[in-house]
Amino acid sequence: MSAKKKVLIVDDEKDLVEMLAIRLEADGRYEIGTAFDGEEALAKASELDPDVVVLDTVMPGLDGWQVARRLRDDERTKDAAVVIMTAGAAAESKRKAQEVGAVKLVLKPYDQKELLSVIREVGRRP
């Protein structure tokens, strides 16, 4: 088994996912999965068993909040650390992120370095 941290990036903006994946791959410490909507995110999550899920909120179909809840409620994915990234209002997003059990909230437009350090810091729930 590889010792790499498994990160699942979920956003319906493919370019965003790609840009972030390039950055994480260059780091060399991560195994990366990507998904472009909520359903796919859930499927990929149970397949990859990620340590960290970086999750957009506004997506067609299942939105990020719903995905976060399902990840938490599913025995196979409940330990993954969810990082919410959103372009929404800070205060309300903070409240919702807490509600769905996310460990961190990152506001768009984020600084990649900042997001990277978040991904580095968070890990599976104890």
Binding site: M19, A26, A87, G88, A89, K108, Y110, D111, Q112
Partner: protein
């Protein structure tokens, strides 16, 4: 009735007048008293009626100077405030009926010498007349305009409210045709042109009535000019609110939508800068740096727009608490220095010791100070300073001062409006603002019930200042949101 009833008898037959007089003087249980005057012809009767008011008139239709129905017509046309009882000979009742159709109250057969019958006829006539006068009075005084239009389309009666609506006295209106085509049960709005070109809108309703025994139309008029004007104003206010809401929503949505592509571009530039996708040559690094700086500016502008739209639409609330003035200033100055933004300029702070705590939202006030310091450093020749001092009952005064070129007096007025930029650097040199900073400051101040002021003594530098109340001091009512922030 205590008062004597004044009675005018217009009758050329002196004997019959005497019979009436005797009848009326007979005592009775009603205890009626009469004061009788007599005229032997119509012209004299009219003269007496012109001179004094009578409670009732007894009228013979056949007089030396007038005969038949013409007699009653001539009398009624004068519009005296007295009931008329027509006296007629036995067998001539048809004329009496016609007279009543024209407006006589009652008739008497001349051969009658029944005192009680006579008195009762007069008494009833007076009472009926009173009722009619009361009804007419109601119409006269009614708030609604009322006009009676006869079959020929001419106005026969105009009450005071109708005079007011038309802006003309009834003498100018009576006998003139009604200005609008009428039909029974008509109900619509109409425009009325008054003297001096003043136009009014009226609600017009038409009902069929009988007027002085003939079919006529009653036109009711309600002046709705004012109501309509108020309605129009209300509609305008509603529309303005809707547009404001639309604008706020639009700014909110656009800012939100802009953030996603911005994030991606930022990620791409970061990846380039960090050499993730290969090392950069110096020239490439310079170009990427330029893109990065402008992306920072764009991000700031979008964030400002979103902040402002939240502030303006009232979605943002101030979470006030006790704040130490020194901490507020120090944090901002430290942030500013850490970001290397005060390069080449001297930024100092001068905080009075032992300042009281102020009642403020620290994050919002930090934003105000950041905006002001940013401006001050940007425009300063060499020095910018932040001061805080105790101003007693007004709380703590914060000042941000620079030694730059100042603001020309003609630009002071709209300084706190959106997208206003003064002394914008030419040719893309240096850092450019978003034109939203001071508008945000103004809104944040409004949330604190405070005002931000600016002074430019002799156009030498600027001094922005605002006072925040002491924590625990009685709250002052917030100023209206529209309050102008700039007080040069």
């Amino acid at each position: 009735m205590n008062r004597a009833i004044s009675l005018l008898i217009i009758e050329d037959d002196i004997e019959y007048v005497d019979i009436i007089r005797i009848c009326l003087e007979e005592p009775d249980s009603m205890n009626l008293k009469f004061e009788i005057e007599r005229a032997d012809r119509l012209s004299l009767g009219l003269k007496l009626l012109d001179a004094a008011r009578f409670d009732a008139v007894l009228l013979d239709l056949t007089l030396p100077d007038s005969r038949g129905l013409d007699t009653i017509k001539r009398l009624l046309d004068r519009g005296y405030d007295a009931p008329v009882i027509v006296m007629t000979n036995l067998g001539d009742e048809s004329a009496a009926f016609e007279a009543m159709g024209l407006g006589a109250q009652d008739y008497l057969i001349k051969s009658t010498s029944d005192s009680r019958l006579l008195k009762r006829a007069i008494w009833y006539a007076i009472e009926r007349h009173k009722l009619r006068s009361q009804a007419e009075n109601l119409i006269k005084k009614a708030a609604e305009g009322m006009i009676v239009v006869d079959a020929a389309g001419k106005m026969r009666f105009v009450n005071a409210s109708a005079e007011q609506i038309f802006g003309r006295a009834k003498e100018e209106l009576l006998d003139k045709p009604f200005p609008e085509p009428l039909s029974p049960s008509l109900k619509r709005q109409a425009r009325v042109v008054c003297p001096k070109g003043l136009e009014k809108t009226v609600d017009l309703r038409v009902t069929e009535i009988e007027w002085r025994g003939k079919p006529a139309l009653l036109v009711s008029l309600t002046d709705i000019t004012e109501v309509q004007r108020v309605e129009q104003l209300k509609a305008e206010v509603r529309e303005r609110r809707r547009l404001d809401q639309l604008k706020d929503d639009l700014i909110g949505t656009v800012s939100h939508e802009l953030r996603t592509p911005l994030t991606i571009v930022k990620g791409a530039i970061d990846n380039l800068k960090e050499g993730i996708v290969g090392p950069l040559q110096p020239k490439q690094r310079e170009v990427v740096g330029l893109a990065d700086r402008n992306l920072f500016r764009l991000t700031k502008m979008i964030n400002n727009l979103l902040d402002l739209s939240r502030l303006e639409s009232g979605q943002a609330a101030a979470h006030k608490k006790a704040c130490k003035p020194k901490a507020l200033v120090d944090d901002v100055v430290a942030d500013f220095r850490a970001a290397g933004r005060a390069a080449k300029k001297q930024l100092t702070s001068n905080i009075e010791p032992d300042l009281p705590e102020v009642d403020a939202d620290p994050e919002l006030i930090a934003e105000v100070l950041l905006n002001l310091v940013d401006n001050a450093v940007r425009f300063a020749k060499s020095r910018a300073e932040v001061k805080a001092s105790d101003v007693g009952s007004r709380g703590v005064l914060f000042e941000v001062i620079d030694d730059g070129p100042g603001i020309p007096p003609e630009r002071m007025g709209g300084l706190f409006n959106k997208f206003v930029q003064v002394n914008r650097p030419k040719g893309g040199e240096g850092y450019k603002g978003t034109g939203l900073g001071l508008a945000i400051c103004k809104e944040i101040m409004a949330l604190h019930g405070a005002t931000i002021r600016v002074e430019c003594p002799e156009s030498k530098g600027c001094r922005f200042s605002f006072a925040l109340p002491r924590y625990g001091a009685p709250r002052q009512p917030s100023k209206p949101r529209s309050a102008e922030g700039a007080k040069p």
